[in-house]
Subunit: 250 residues, 2 copies
C-alpha cells in the first residue's frame, strides 16, 4: 500500500448497531500486517467526514478488524482552498490527488484543456473508485476525515461559462498562476481572503484563450517566477504558498 | 523518459573544437522522437553549470544530434536554499530529487536518521549516476543549468557535529520544520535571510535526540500545522513557503 496510515478511516457501513466498527479489506490487512495491533491496543481512527478519536482493538483476525470506537476530536481545520486543475498526466494525477487531500483542499474540478491529451480521459486514474482511493490515502496520511469533492469536466469553456460560479461560489478569491503575468503572489493581496480558488494549468500551461476566459471570470493572474514546474511540483508549492499567505479558513 | 525537456542540457564533452555540440544517447533520442527537430530549427539549450541559449539543428540522425550553439543568457536565479534531508523511501526520493532540482536548491545532504530504514542505503536510487539523472530531469524541466551538489552521509551525529558547519557555512538561517514546535514559519522572521537551510526529517519525523541536536546547532524549529505530510509533499510545500518569504538570493 502507498502512504502512511496515520489515521484509520471508518466508513458508515463499518458501524454496527452496538456502536463498534468492523473493518474489512485493505484496512483490516494493514492493521494486521503493518500495525500488528493486538487486542486492547488503541489505534487512531476517524469517521469519514466526521470526528477523529481512538479505536480499541477487540479482535484483529485475518480480514476483519473489530474496534470499540470513541470519536471526540474534530479533524484538522480546512485549508479554505479549491482547485480548478487541468487534467494532469495519469502518473502526475496519482501523485497530486493524495497530496491535495493531505493538504485539506475542499473541492477539485478536473477539467479538460487544450494541452491535455485526449487519452487521459481513458485512464483508469480518472475512475471514480480509483480517485477515491487516492484521496483516502491523503486523508489517512494527514489524519483528516473530510473527503474532497471531485468533479470531472470534459469541456473547458462550458464549465467556465455556465458552471464555475455555481461550483465555487462568489466569495473565494480566484487566482491564476500564469507565467506571462508580471505580478507576484504577494502583490495579489490575499491576506484577507478566507477562501481561494487556484486554477492550475496542464504541463505547458493554459493556452491564451483559456487564460483569457479565466481572467474574464475574475481569475487574477500572478507569476510563479522564471522556473517552469511540473504539475505535481507546482500544486504543493502553490498550495503551500497560498495557505501560508491567506487568512485562516472560517 | 520522465519529465518535460524545456531545455536540452549540454555537457562539456559534447562540445567540439569548432564550438558545435554533438549529443548522443537519451538526449539525441528525445530530440529525434519527441521534439522531431529538423535541420535549421532552433532548440532551447543550456550548458551544464553555465549559460542558456539556442542550438540550431545541423543534423538530427539516429543517436546523434549536432547543434550550432549560442549561449547568451544566465539560468534562473538560485533559490538560496540548501536541504538537510533524512533519506526518504526510494519511491519518494525519485519524486523529491527532480522537484528539488527544478526549484533551484543548491545543496542536498541526504543523511541517515533513526526512522530511516537501513535498506534504503542499498537502493539503486542512491547510486550516483541515478541521482544525477533525476536531478538532470529537474533542471531540464525548469530550464536551469546549475546541478545541485549532493552529499550522502550514513551517520547523523558525526555529520551534524563535525561537518555541518563546514558544508552549509555560517550565514544561512537554519530552519527545522518540526510538529511539536509552537511557532509558525512566519514567526521565524526569515524575510531578511538571503540563504536558508531546511532540515526535513523522514516520514514519522526526527526522533527527539535528532531534533535536539539540530536545535543545539542553531536550527530554529517551527510548526507545519496539524497535518502530517509525506516527505514528497512536505519538500515542495516548504520550499514554496521559504522561497516566498525569504529575501532574494544574492
Amino acid at each position: 500500500m502507498e502512504g502512511t496510515v496515520n489515521l484509520l478511516l471508518l466508513f458508515d457501513e463499518d458501524f454496527q448497531p452496538d456502536g463498534t466498527a468492523r473493518l474489512t479489506g485493505r484496512r483490516a490487512q494493514h492493521a494486521r500486517e503493518v500495525l500488528k495491533a493486538e487486542p486492547g491496543e488503541s489505534l487512531r481512527v476517524g469517521r469519514l467526514n466526521g470526528l477523529t478519536g481512538t479505536g480499541e482493538v477487540l479482535e484483529n483476525a485475518p480480514g476483519l478488524l473489530h474496534l470499540r470506537v470513541e470519536l471526540t476530536d474534530p479533524p484538522p481545520p480546512r485549508a479554505g482552498v479549491d482547485l480548478l486543475l487541468a487534467i494532469p498526466r495519469p502518473k502526475a494525477l496519482k501523485k497530486v490527488l493524495p497530496a491535495v487531500a493531505s493538504l485539506g483542499v475542499d473541492r477539485i474540478v478536473l477539467v479538460n484543456a487544450a494541452r491535455v491529451e485526449k487519452s487521459y480521459f481513458d485512464s483508469k486514474v480518472l475512475n471514480e473508485a480509483f480517485v477515491r482511493e487516492l484521496l483516502l490515502q491523503g486523508l489517512e496520511q494527514a489524519r483528516d476525515t473530510r473527503m474532497p469533492e471531485v468533479l470531472i469536466r470534459e469541456r473547458f469553456r462550458p464549465f467556465v461559462e455556465d458552471e464555475l460560479d455555481a461550483v465555487f461560489g462568489p466569495e473565494p478569491l480566484r487566482l491564476l498562476p500564469h507565467p506571462p503575468a508580471s505580478l507576484s503572489l504577494q502583490a495579489r493581496d490575499i491576506t484577507r481572503a478566507t477562501r481561494v480558488v487556484l486554477a492550475i494549468g496542464p504541463d505547458g500551461g493554459w493556452v491564451p484563450f483559456e487564460a483569457q476566459l479565466l481572467e474574464a471570470h475574475g481569475f487574477l493572474p500572478f507569476s510563479l517566477g522564471p522556473r517552469i514546474l511540473r504539475v505535481e511540483t507546482a500544486v504543493p508549492v502553490l498550495l503551500g504558498q497560498v495557505t501560508l499567505l491567506k487568512a485562516p479558513a472560517p
